[in-house]
Symmetry: C2
Subunit: 646 residues, 2 copies
């Protein structure tokens, strides 16, 4: 059971227009330089990072003390990974030089035996591998490997890859079930998927085996985290093993549990191992956990993790809008995992979820300008409540802010969104021997090898704002092969034509992909029209908080109401079931976007009383909804995705 599909390499795809070209430009031109400033503590008023300085100190170039979290290094690695992809899209010699310099620092900070971690090295080398559960050494190693692979693939420069290999080789000697090895695994998964990337780029099977070992060892008895905790005389712990997805061996997982980002990274690795080793059992684990997540534990925005404590999944249908956590990184993780599932099983259900996360819970994480970030992505906010209620402004819950922040003490999200958007090209297409799959509709060009022949593709679209997609096909020579276009799950009326001739796709549909097989000639044109009326979406009644409420979605984009457009007390705005929903293009808003307009109602409340007999007197109000991902880019205030119906 090898992977069905291969994603297009970012070298063979280029995003040429539309929303993601614009977001990609923001990432390359603004976010990446901005993040470099933040990592170097050059942004006034931003939370301290010190992440690059930690490397400078570990490399012996600076005097000083480590500052930050045990996983501070990963911010640098994830930024480097984003830089790598950006250099493919937008070559930038100055940026590449900065990256090379950082790589030198990392290289110099590598210990003689291959170990790299500025926290352990600078703070307490005796703690190396002593607390796998909490200390994130393998997590940081994973991000180092991902950065190294990305930089190597982007630039051909192998220096960081060599650092990563030496580190991986060393890790391979330390961990395992052999004599004198530690039978452990990371508290925060990440290295599993990274080792598969390293295997793919180096061909070294040991990395694959090591990844498989980490996955299979996880959650087995005797429990490594318990043994380790006993060895350091730990008396109290904050989280149980579920938090780490280590409550059970992975093969016994049935539901999405614990820290949401960790879960996503773990299942990315599990899917990769299932793909590479043809392990149907592991893939079945992924399928059932995926289904549980998608059908019970995911916000309409693709956000996951509905409680701040543990940044975690809770239980089926528990999806409060105001107490949502829905960390940006977790939505990014959904895209990572969904992308892997999709290569394994060309079912649009995975691409539908990728779209749901991408256009909503991921994009919301970064401001329109690219220089501020959400950690938590609630679906409803009443800022006064966040500010004044002690159960909403303490602990992890305090990360729920009504406004994006310049930086975070835990700054995982900014570089995560950057590395995803910078590498978005590879999510658009996949191919097998003689099939080209269109998963996402993004204005772009790509080149494929179809059974030895080169086939160029040009996709022209303003999706998700516009319902039309034009695909132009340029095979090296006329050739029979399949173009599989995804009919999005949200779309109830799709029209397809080839060279102007309407095509009834019904007989060609396979798991949501219309598979058009024919002899393709240079300049052949497929036109797709995915009808994009505003859809009123209901949640399953089990999601108690959304009963009586509707979300507005157009195409894959979920909309929301903001106070700046609709006044305060959004909860009192209601949308009659019969109201017409109009799409209006606002050319002045965020460079031009479609907004949704409707006539709604508010109650008329006479006097100052708190409770009174119902009068049902209402007044009409104009409702204006904007894409959720663009909220909190104007003035702070209330926001809600779910709107009351009347």
């Amino acid at each position: 059971m090898k992977a069905l599909l291969t994603p297009v390499s970012i070298h063979n795809v280029r995003i040429t227009g539309g929303l993601f070209r614009e977001r990609l430009d923001v990432v390359c031109q603004k976010a990446i330089p901005y993040q470099w400033s933040a990592l170097n503590d050059k942004v006034t008023g931003a939370a301290r990072s010190h992440a690059v300085d930690n490397f400078r100190i570990a490399a012996g170039e600076y005097e000083g003390k480590f500052y930050g979290k045990v996983f501070q290094d990963s911010d640098v690695y994830k930024w480097l990974e984003a830089v790598s992809y950006s250099l493919v899209d937008s070559p930038n010699a100055e940026l590449e030089q900065i990256a090379d310099d950082v790589i030198d620092l990392i290289s110099k900070s590598q210990q003689p035996d291959g170990y790299v971690n500025t926290y352990i090295t600078l703070v307490d080398p005796t703690q190396r591998w002593k607390n796998l559960r909490d200390n994130h050494e393998l997590y940081c190693a994973g991000h180092l490997i991902e950065a190294a692979v990305a930089y190597y693939c982007a630039t051909g420069k192998a220096k960081l890859l060599e650092v990563a290999r030496r580190f991986a080789d060393y890790i391979d000697t330390v961990f395992g079930t052999g004599e004198n090895q530690l039978p452990g695994y990371p508290g925060h998964e990440e290295i599993e998927l990274a080792l598969v990337k390293l295997y793919r780029v180096t061909g070294e099977e040991r990395y694959l085996s090591l990844s498989k070992y980490f996955i299979e060892q996880r959650g087995t008895q005797p429990h490594y985290f318990e043994i380790e905790a006993a060895a350091r005389n730990e008396t109290e712990r904050q989280y149980d093993n579920t938090y780490y997805q280590a409550h059970l061996p992975v093969r016994d997982h049935h539901t999405a549990e614990g820290h949401a980002v960790r879960a996503m990274y773990l299942y990315c690795g599990v899917t990769d191992i299932a793909l590479e080793t043809g392990d149907r059992g592991l893939f079945d684990v992924c399928k059932r956990v995926w289904d549980n997540m998608v059908s019970r534990r995911m916000y309409i925005t693709g956000g996951i993790g509905s409680v701040a404590f543990g940044e975690a999944f809770t239980f089926d249908y528990d999806l409060p809008n105001d107490l949502a956590y829905a960390e940006t990184c977790a939505a990014v993780g959904v895209v990572f995992w969904g992308h892997r599932m999709l290569q394994h099983e060309a079912d649009r259900k995975y691409a539908d979820v990728i779209e749901r996360a991408l256009y909503n819970g991921v994009l919301s994480g970064m401001s329109f300008e690219g220089n501020s970030y959400f950690y938590v992505n609630p679906l409803e906010i009443w800022p006064e409540s966040r500010e004044k209620r002690n159960d909403r402004n303490r602990g992890r819950q305090a990360r729920l802010q009504p406004w994006r922040q310049k930086w975070w003490e835990v700054a995982c999200c900014p570089s995560n969104i950057a590395r995803l958007i910078a590498s978005l090209g590879q999510y658009i297409y996949s191919s097998s021997n003689d099939e080209i799959f269109f998963h996402l509709y993004v204005d772009s060009e790509a080149v494929f090898d179809v059974n030895g022949d080169s086939v160029s593709i040009k996709q022209e679209t303003s999706y998700p704002w516009d319902e039309k997609v034009t695909i132009r096909v340029y095979p090296q020579r006329t050739k029979e092969f399949t173009i599989a276009v995804r009919v999005p799950g949200w779309c109830r009326r799709a029209q397809v034509s080839v060279n102007g001739d309407p095509l009834d796709i019904t007989p060609y549909l396979e798991r949501g992909y219309a598979k058009i097989r024919r002899e393709w000639r240079e300049g052949d044109r497929i036109e797709l029209v995915f009808a994009m009326p505003v859809e009123r979406i209901h949640a399953n009644p089990q999601v108690r908080v959304n009963c009586g409420k509707v979300a507005l979605q157009r195409g894959p984009v979920v909309y929301c109401l903001e106070e700046v457009d609709n006044g305060p007390v959004l909860a009192d705005v209601s949308l009659p079931k019969s109201t017409e929903l109009t799409v209006s293009y606002d050319k002045d808003l965020f460079g031009g976007i479609p907004v949704i307009l409707a006539r709604g109602e508010r109650r008329i409340w006479s006097g100052d009383s708190l409770y009174a007999p119902a009068t049902y007197e209402t007044c009409p109000v104009e409702i204006r909804a904007i894409p959720y991902f663009l909220w909190a880019n104007r003035s702070p205030g209330e926001m809600t995705v779910w709107i009351r119906e009347c």
Copy 2:
């Protein structure tokens, strides 16, 4: 400005039938003996109390160590106070002997200088008066005084009153702005109102002055709590001064702030002092804080305190149903305070709030059987969420239980509800020289002195279940005076007749009381009919969580839906605006109560998806609502007061 009205003494009133006779019997026959068992740790599975044992140890009768909170003594005092009132209603020699024995213990635990407090005495006598903010010594003193006054008034026995006087005399030497005095005041108010009671029973003006001192000194600068904290080298504090209503001098208070129970007790004392001293300024403070509380910060159940952290008020219109705290004691406190306001200003608005709290947020605190208690009284619960969400089952939030508990580690609520219900008689009537006020409708008899003549009153009613009240008047001799009957604020159609002749009360209405002045003869009969249709109540739109929802209220009783009657997922049940609401008397439920029946709707949801385009398909369901205060007496499950409308 002396008090306008005098409440009826519990010696001159007797509750003879109806809901409160039944609740009073439960308190006297079940709750008081049960609480005695709990205070003596004789209830299997109940939280440990040790409160009586602490006195036995302090009295030198037992060996052992103090156990409990710094305010553990108050549980015994409040129980004694409840016992006192119960002995008036239901004489019980055995119970009185137990009380006498407890009083002996308290007396023996009194220190030579008059000080009483088992925590300080047994744990660390050097800490006496060292931490007024946290250690509750004056709070316990207040409850000792209240118990002493109640026991003296009930039985004529002065032993505990002497203990209380000696303690109060000693406190009077310790506190004040004189030389060698501590310019402090309690972190938890209570002694202020207690000293007024002591003054009233002893005539000793010093107690009144001391109470006034505590009130006036509170929140002044330099801030006593800060001075005290500095003296004990405190480095961290949990709460700011608002929690203690000590953020500002009392005369500068405008809103209901901080710990809700403390606030109620404080303003009881402030109202008392305003009453006794004729201080209009202090009364104005009470009026504006009252209005803020009632029109912005009170649940429809009369519950107050909408956040678990600090058991506190938050801000205007912040009244979440599921994160409600609404401590039983706080609703009891609302009744205490409202009762005092009412004597000052015969305005039904106070009695309306007393009723709101009494029939809902107070009665809900005790089980139907009188042997289990709610600490927190939410207006909505999804037990699975409480159980599994870490933001709902930790810290004070964990006191929100879907089921009443046998006892609590902090057991303030059980005895508080007992002492209120045991003394309920005095809340029903007040009188002035030639006016008798009917505040509450409770089947009862009472005797008044009307300008020197005795007037007996008999009130016959099944209120709140029935809308009819018959009042029979038996003056010693035919005499002109006023009977002022309250027309409840919830009532939109009140009919009054005197001796069968209908009376248009419109010209007689004064602040919600119909003042019927005439020559009353023996056997004169007033009949009141307060139309009691089921009212659909809306909340002010500013209460965001209740938008689109309706509460059902009949008379003063707020209803709720329970899972046991309506199935799970109550949030999906909706009530069409036009649905007829039927009252049906269920003779088998809780000894016979009216329930509300209606035809509602649930959505039909096809398939297993989490989100889907709205179809608006519904199926009819029978809705059954029971009085809120009776919830959680059958099987655990979901509950909601606010029901979605469609």
